[in-house]
Symmetry: C2
Subunit: 350 residues, 2 copies
């Protein structure tokens, strides 16, 4: 019999999705904070900003004019990190200096013409349009022979390096499969070959039984703080059905995803009564022509805030040099999110 | 023949030390930056601050009083993430919810009694004292049967989560070997078994030939921007001699390490005329009683600044969800650092 108490004592947890460990130090959240404070985003923005390069009808840096779009709007990133025109080529000096050319595409997705909105302030119907764009883009980009992986993501808030508050996300699609999805491919395949079910199917069954890490559920999706979460209020959004990518979802499942995203992000905003920053993105099967039956579509949310609208978690010294580390337990984070209202706090301020 | 041009076009580089790839997008540094700006640290601090819990003679949160130390001062972290008293214990639910208790020690190292200094403003002789403390702590902690890995590091600057500007570093030492050094152990062992020399010995020979990534050298140490650097001005500090940890260094090698750290950090401060933030730390062989002959001692510096004292690199959406990514090439970063003066800019302002 062990007296080890994971709600109070340091321990490591294993992330079966990427095969890495994370250090949890629950007792540490008691230390006082005297470091950097972030400016909370409480700005009131106009519905239209003539200087915003994402607003309808405005001119972008390269001279192109945005259409007067009414729902969503997608275009090629004017400053894409990946471009299609790179010739193939490799370098190899002694097996130690190794490089290979990389090509791809960068896209920008405006979620709404309204400059002042964010996902939690949009209706489920309007978020559903965003889900449809994600689906179409994944399908179209993934069909290209030069694209073997499509990363759809959103950086929200200045603290997450977002340089324009207009609600938007990005896509980086490329020839090779990047590190994180490559690890998830290996881990999911090994699990599937051993157990005949997807890793996330079995994981979800355990979480349904335990309940303590679940934040929100509807008929088709579950939002939870994963047992192995790194960021304080990190969540995993996953479909109950084992599908590999967005194109396999039914209409009802896409509506339910829109609702799950809305309900999660409302709770995030309510937690510290601020426009809650995060990076979020979809993980789907590589588009390399293989079936990847073991893959289970999901979405990660990585928000940096820890204690309040102004105090974030820093992933620095120990984390960069040694190991990911968190202070509050995933169970506590889930409880905090679960107890938030499902109505956005701004709607209750009048 | 390929027309692939790595100084202009996107490519991936391989990090042989940890086995991971990094995406390099050199053309992207041309994009305009409209996002968050950091406050540069240009504060003038007093030599002694009565409210600082690290200054000599002051009282800490737990009531202990710091001695009137004159060189360095080391003590157990009052809010350590790792503590020795955790009983062993594991959890395993379906192979998917896995945890194990972790124990260890947290230590704080004050580099100087002077509240107003930082490493680049200290003399080589005073930094040498810090090197001696690192060596002693590694030896003493590493000798404990309950400690199998010792991580020595420094978080410098508010942007790196440092909550007190008094010059100091930390040690987190623990029972298990954390993720990053575990990966480096695997990679270095595989290389050593194949080639009979340490990975960094052979890597250094290539860099000496190419010269373009070297920032500073003396008789015993080389500072360079590694071919696979992630952070814009990331550097690797390594001894010419293949040793596994600090305790094997000669006096001359320790003096030379102090000089390398001073010269590197002076160039960092000079680059943007600011107190340059970073996380830095030593990687040494695990203290698990094995010889780890393949290990080659080294130090990493991970600074976040990209374009100026106020514009940093954000490791967010794509980086968190998919893959590490950088905008400027390591070669360009090395050139910028190499051309900085070896005299601290504050000494030239009078
Ligand atoms: O220990 P400190 O300085 O209070 O805290 C800082 O360094 C730690 C180790 O890298 C991090 O876990 C914290 O997020 C950071 O704020
Ligand atoms: O593309 P943006 O929004 O200009 O840039 C932001 O997202 C990118 C992708 O995560 C990051 O590489 C940048 O560091 C960040 O500032």
């Amino acid at each position: 019999m062990s007296n080890f108490n994971p709600t109070e004592q340091a321990h490591r947890r294993f992330n079966p999705l990427n095969g890495e460990w994370i250090l949890v130090s629950p007792h540490r959240s008691k230390r006082p904070w005297q470091g950097q404070q972030e400016a909370p985003d409480r700005s009131q923005r106009p519905t239209y900003d003539p200087t915003c390069y994402l607003c309808p009808g405005n001119t972008r840096a390269n001279g192109e004019v945005n259409p007067s779009y009414e729902g969503t709007f997608v275009f090629d990133n004017d400053f894409a990190a990946l471009t299609p025109d790179v010739p193939t080529g490799t370098t190899d000096i002694g097996g130690l200096l190794r490089a290979e050319a990389e090509s791809g595409v960068g896209r920008v997705i405006c979620f709404s013409p309204r400059h002042d909105l964010t996902l939690p302030e949009m209706s489920v119907m309007d978020i559903r349009r965003v889900v449809d764009v994600w689906t179409d883009e994944y399908r179209t980009l993934g069909a290209r022979p030069d694209i073997n992986y499509v990363q759809i993501f959103e950086n929200k808030g200045q603290v997450m390096g977002c340089s324009n508050p207009h609600p938007h996300g990005q896509i980086w699609a490329q020839r090779t499969v990047p590190g994180e999805p490559a690890k998830e491919t290996i881990q999911q395949l090994a699990y599937f070959e051993k157990n005949g079910r997807s890793l996330l199917t079995d994981y979800l069954a355990i979480e349904e039984r335990e309940q303590q890490r679940i934040v929100f559920e509807n008929d088709h999706w579950v939002v939870l703080v994963p047992y192995w979460a790194i960021w304080p209020f990190e969540t995993l959004v996953m479909p109950r059905r084992h599908v590999q990518d967005l194109t396999q979802l039914t209409d009802a499942e896409k509506d339910a995803l829109a609702e799950a995203v809305q309900q999660l992000t409302i709770r995030y905003d309510n937690l510290f009564q601020t426009s809650f920053p995060y990076s979020a993105g979809l993980h789907q099967r590589p588009t390399d022509g293989q079936a990847h039956e073991s893959w289970h579509l999901h979405m990660h949310f990585y928000p940096p805030l820890l204690r309040s609208a102004t105090v974030r978690k820093f992933m620095v010294g120990y984390e960069l040099l040694a190991n990911a580390q968190r202070d509050i337990t995933p169970e506590y984070a889930a409880q905090r999110l679960r107890e938030q209202s499902n109505v956005h706090y701004k709607q209750t301020l009048d």
